[in-house]
C-alpha cells in the first residue's frame, strides 16, 4: 500500500468515488496524524517550530525510523521481529567499543550479525518456525552479547560517526533530511523495483510466488538481511547521538518499531507495508512520546501510554474510514 492515492479513473459511479475518497483518506492517515501532532506542538509552544527546535525534537527520530524500517521488512514477509530492540542495543555496544577501537573487527562483527539475521530468515522459513518465538529467543542472545561486550554503560562513539550525526545542513534540520532520504530510498527499493514486488509478494501470497518460480526462501533471507542492515544503521545512528552505549539502550525500540509500522499504514498480513508511512509513523511516535507531552505538562510516566493511545486512535480512525470504503 502506498501513501499515494489510487486513481480509479473516470469510470464514474458515486459509490466508487466515495470508495476512492475513503482509500485516499486512509492512505493519508499517517501524514494526517503527524500533521496533527505538529499542529498541537506549534500551538502549545510556537518556538519549537524552528530549525533548532526540530533538530532537538527529532534527534532520536532517526534511529527510531531506521529500526521501524527494519521491522517493516520483517512484517512485509508476514513475520514479526521481537528482537530488533535488543539488536539495536547490541549494535550500539559494538559501535561504542570495537568499531571505535578496532574498526576492522567492528565491521566484521556487524556484518556477521547481519549474516545471523539472514540465517534466522532461512531457519524460520525452512523449519516453518513461529518468528515470534525465535526472535524472542534471539532478543536474549543479543542482550547477552551486548552485556559481554560492554558490561557497564560506557564506551565512546567513533569520531566520524559523531561528526555525521552532528551535521548541521543549512535551512533544513538534519533529522528531516535523513528521514526523507530513508523514506525515499526504501520506497524506491521496495515499492518501485521488480524485486521489491517479489519481496512484498512473499508476504502477500507465498504460494503464488513459489508457483511463479521464485524462491520464497531467498525472499525471506533478503528481507531478514535488510532488517539486520537497518537494525545496524539504527544502532550506529543511536550511538552517534548518545555518544556512549549501554546494553539496554535499545530495549524500547522493539515495540516502538512495531507501532511505527502499523501507524504508517502497514498491516500484519499480506505484505501490505509502506516505507514512507513507516518513517512518518516513527516521526509521529518520536514527537508525540516526549516533546508533545512535555509541552502539555504531562509527567513522563505517561510517555508509553501516549504511544499506545496514538496507536489506538489511529487504528480506530482507520476502522471508521474502512467502513466507508465498503
Amino acid at each position: 500500500m502506498t501513501a499515494t492515492p489510487i486513481d480509479n479513473g473516470f469510470k464514474g459511479s458515486a459509490a466508487r468515488n466515495a470508495a476512492a475518497r475513503a482509500r485516499l483518506l486512509r492512505g493519508l492517515l499517517p501524514a494526517l496524524s503527524l500533521a496533527l501532532v505538529l499542529l498541537a506542538i506549534a500551538w502549545l509552544n510556537p518556538r519549537a517550530i524552528s530549525y533548532f527546535g526540530f533538530s532537538l525534537m527529532l534527534n532520536l527520530a532517526i534511529p527510531i525510523a531506521l529500526a521501524t524500517i527494519a521491522q517493516m521488512f520483517v512484517i512485509a514477509g508476514n513475520e514479526l521481529d521481537l528482537s530488533i530492540g535488543t539488536f539495536v542495543g547490541f549494535v550500539g555496544c559494538v559501535t561504542a567499543t570495537w568499531l571505535k577501537d578496532a574498526p576492522l573487527i567492528g565491521v566484521i562483527i556487524l556484518l556477521g550479525s547481519i549474516g545471523v539475521y539472514a540465517l534466522l530468515g532461512a531457519l524460520i522459513h525452512l523449519r516453518n518456525l513461529p518468528s515470534i518465538v525465535v526472535t524472542l529467543g534471539m532478543s536474549f542472545v543479543w542482550q547477552g552479547l551486548a552485556i559481554l561486550f560492554l558490561p557497564k554503560p560506557g564506551g565512546k562513539a567513533p569520531d566520524w560517526l559523531l561528526a555525521i550525526m552532528a551535521f548541521k545542513p543549512p535551512f533544513i534540520p538534519f533529522p528531516i533530511i535523513a528521514a526523507l532520504l530513508i523514506a525515499a530510498t526504501v520506497h524506491f527499493g521496495l515499492m518501485r523495483t521488480s524485486y521489491g514486488v517479489i519481496l512484498r509478494g512473499s508476504g502477500g501470497n507465498p504460494a503464488a510466488l513459489r508457483r511463479a518460480g521464485w524462491s520464497v526462501l531467498k525472499t525471506k533471507i533478503v528481507l531478514f538481511s535488510l532488517a539486520g542492515l537497518f537494525g545496524v544503521l539504527s544502532g550506529m545512528a543511536l550511538i552517534g547521538i548518545t555518544t556512549s552505549a549501554d546494553a539496554n539502550i535499545g530495549n524500547g525500540y522493539t515495540l516502538l518499531a512495531i507501532a511505527g509500522v502499523i501507524l504508517g499504514g502497514g498491516e500484519f498480513v499480506g505484505g501490505r507495508v509502506s516505507p514512507i508511512g513507516a518513517v512518518i509513523g516513527a516521526l509521529t511516535l518520536a514527537l508525540a512520546a516526549s516533546p508533545l507531552l512535555t509541552f502539555m505538562h504531562i509527567p513522563p510516566d505517561w510517555q508509553v501510554a501516549a504511544n499506545g493511545a496514538i496507536l489506538i486512535i489511529v487504528l480506530a480512525a482507520r476502522v471508521l474510514i474502512s467502513r466507508r470504503e465498503r
Binding site: 523449519r127 529467543g137 547477552g144 552485556i147 498480513v269 510516566d301 499506545g308 489506538i312
Partner: protein, 315 residues
Amino acid sequence: MASLRTLLTKPWIWSFVGALLVWLATIAFTGGYGAGGMVTAALSLAVFTVIVGVGQMFVITLGPGNVDLSLPANIGLASAVAMKVMGGSDAMIVVGLLAALACGAAIGAINYLLIWALRIPPIIATLSASFIIQSVDISYGRGLQIKPPPGFADFTNWQVLGIPVLAILTVLFTIGAAIALQRMIYGRSVLAIGQNIRAAWLAGVNVGRIRFLTYTLSGALGGIDGALLAGYFRGANVDIGNEYLLASIAVVVIGGTSVAGGKANVPGVWGAALFLVLLLTMLNTFGVSAGVRLLLTGLIIVGVITAAGGEKALR
C-alpha cells in the same frame, strides 16, 4: 514396554526429559549436593510460569496471530493492585486476590474489546493495551513500598515435605484446565476455532464469546500471577512480570502446543516451565556471568524451538 512407547509418542514428554537432563547435569556438577532443594526451588518458581503459560496456551490455541503480549504489564499492575488492597493486613488477603483477579480480567476483556472493535490483530491490540497498562502501573505504583501481609507471604512460601503448597494447588488447577480443554464445551470450542475459525462458526460455535472468554481468562490468570509473585518476592514491582513475556510463550511452544492453533497441551506447560527454571538454575550453578546466561538461554530456546518445529511441517 508398550506403555513406555505410547508415552514417548506424547509431545509433552520431551519437555520433561529436557528438565530431567538439565537437573541431572546440575547435580552432577555439584556432586549431588542440593538435589532436593533444587527441585523444591524449581517447583516454586515454575508455578508462576505455569499459571500465565496456561492462559497464553488457551490464547495461542485460538489460531495464528492470537497471542497475549500484555501479560508482563498486566502482572506488574496486578501485583501493585494486590499489595495496595491488602495493605499489609492479613484480613484483606482474599479481597486483594480478588482485586488482582478482577484487574487482570478487566485487562483481558479490554484486550478483546480492542481486537473486536478495531478489527486489529491481537498482537497489536495487546501491544497497545500493554503500553497504556505500563503507564498506569508506573503512575499508580510509584514509590509503592507496601509489603505483602505476613500470612500471604508465608502462604506463597509454604512447603509440605519439601513440596511447595502453591505447586500442589497449581497442579490441581492445571488438571482442571486440561479437563476444561479436552472435556468441556468451552475447551472444545477453543480447539475448534483454532483448527478452522469459519468451520467452527458454521458449526454453531459462538466464536466472539469464546474468544472474549479466552482473552479474559488469560488476563485473569495474569492478574492472579501478579498477586502471587508480589507475595513470593515480598513486594510489588513494575518490572516483576517482564520475564513472563518470553516465558509464557516459550513454555507453550516447547510444551508441544501448536503455534498454528487448534492443538493444545497442558502437561507440556509444566514440563517446559520446569525445564526453563532448571536451565536458569543450572547456568547459575555453573557460575556463568549474566551475559553468558542470557546468551545461552536465548540459544537454547531457539535450539529447542528449531528441534521441536519439524513435526509441524508434516501436518
